[in-house]
């Protein structure tokens, strides 16, 4: 009985390890692995069929086709995405990632490809006439005493820390694994406002009792991240970005993902 169980476990273990070894056999074109935050529409998310979708996903796929390499898109937990890049299990990050000084110390970024601001979302309440009305305005949403929800490890968090908390404005910051959870808590009432990248905010408020009451002009720029010193991939991506921006494809993708509702 003992032997039978052991043998079965042993066989299962061997089969699994072999299959993973086989999966890592290289193809013809160079293969780069792109890590994304799979919960960040409209830049990167997973669609109904379980495939990666979003603005950054399509841009990277186009660049791969144009520049002659294969790309494999893998969802990675946002908290671990830069360490995963450094360790080498992914080769780039293309996922609505803002270029910041702190991140530049860890990774290299491509040329900027998009610029966004941050948006502040609050709950909508219903007034006497039955019209939806925001609970706070842009000033009262971030005033002293408020609790603000943000996704951990994002520029929203840094902005609030540097411009409100460090400047003496007594707001409480609540950190979440994803901006979506912050919006959920906003609707429940655990936080008074949620701050996130504006395109993401627009997708988060559709069909929900929440609204954008204002934007914080940070003029942040998005770039794709590669390991420090990975010149080859960096120049491939930069060239690809130049080409796609010069083509009609750029306008089509921007129209499809980033403009309007």
């Amino acid at each position: 009985m003992f032997i039978r169980v052991s043998v079965r476990f042993g066989v299962a273990l061997c089969l699994l390890l072999t299959s993973f070894a086989l999966l890592s056999v290289a193809g013809e074109k160079p293969l780069y692995v792109d890590g994304i935050d799979a919960a960040f529409p409209p830049f990167s998310y997973i669609d109904e069929n379980g495939d990666p979708a979003g603005f950054d996903v399509e841009v990277v796929q186009w660049i791969a086709g144009e520049m002659g390499f294969e790309v494999k898109i893998v969802p990675i937990d946002w908290d671990a995405i830069i360490p995963t890049l450094k360790v080498g299990n992914i080769d780039m990050i293309a996922s609505g990632m803002t270029i910041t000084q702190k991140r530049l110390e860890q990774v290299d970024f491509t040329d900027p490809y998009w610029s966004i601001d941050l948006a502040v979302i609050v709950r909508e309440e219903v007034d006497e006439e039955g019209e939806p009305v925001p609970q706070f305005n842009i000033f009262s949403a971030v005033a002293a005493g408020r609790t603000i929800g943000v996704q951990r490890g994002t520029t929203s968090q840094t902005w609030i820390e540097e411009n409100l908390i460090d400047e003496g404005v007594a707001v409480k910051l609540k950190l979440y694994d994803s901006f979506l959870l912050a919006v959920e808590d906003l609707l429940i009432g655990r936080v008074d406002a949620a701050v996130m990248d504006e395109p993401t905010a627009r997708s988060a408020i559709t069909n929900r009792d929440a609204t954008i009451v204002g934007t914080i002009s940070t003029g942040e720029i998005y770039g794709y991240a590669v390991r420090k010193g990975d010149e080859e991939l960096l120049s491939l991506l930069n060239d690809g970005l130049k080409r796609i921006k010069a083509s009609d494809e750029w306008a089509r993708l921007v129209e499809k993902w980033l403009i309007g509702d």
């Binding site: 052991s6 919960a39 997973i46 969802p75 671990a80 450094k86 299990n89 959920e184």
Partner: protein, 231 residues
Amino acid sequence: MSFTDSLTLIVRSLPTLLQGACITMALIATCLGVGFFLGVPLALVHVYGASWCKWVAAIYDRIFRGFPALVLLFLFYFGLGSIEGVSLSPFLAVVLALGLRSAAYQAQIYRGSLLAVGEGQMAAAQSLGMSKPQAIWSVLLPQALHFSLPGLANEYSIVLKDTALAFAVGVIELLSRGKFIVARTYATMTIYLTVAAIYLILTYLGVLVFWMMERRTSIPGLGDRAKESRR
């Protein structure tokens, strides 16, 4: 979201959730397997080993039962992964971290079950001329295995939930698939309740397997209380 909308969403999400469940099952099978192959020798060392062996086993035990599972995952994936020339796939990192951890917990289960087999068994075996290793292998371990099954069923259901941590290092299992669907549809309650239901089914199915094994390996003459307790 209306009720019918929720139902439609659940049905449309099931294929991808079940794919995640397959990865979860693969994870738990390999983690428990690693835990088993390492846990039994560890338990034998705990109970019968020479003092210096017991010492080494004790250190292993402190480390792998002392660190939180997530910390172990990160240590294996990022720590080992950052050593030159070592390339650790996320799946392998999870199997190592959770498997070695399960080995420490399983060793305690087998230690308890080995001790539950009466001293009389060892004495009787040795009086028949068996050496200590022979006695352990042929007489004590088989009985201990039977006693360890309730504890093992427990370990199974715990490690099953621990596999949900695997997304932290990039393994796309059941819970992370649920997260992706929620990110796209914002249907938090619907999807997470479905995910919870799948975990429930997986847990119960596994525990059923252990119950069946308990019956198949039951020791004649040991009384029927066990049957009543298996609900």
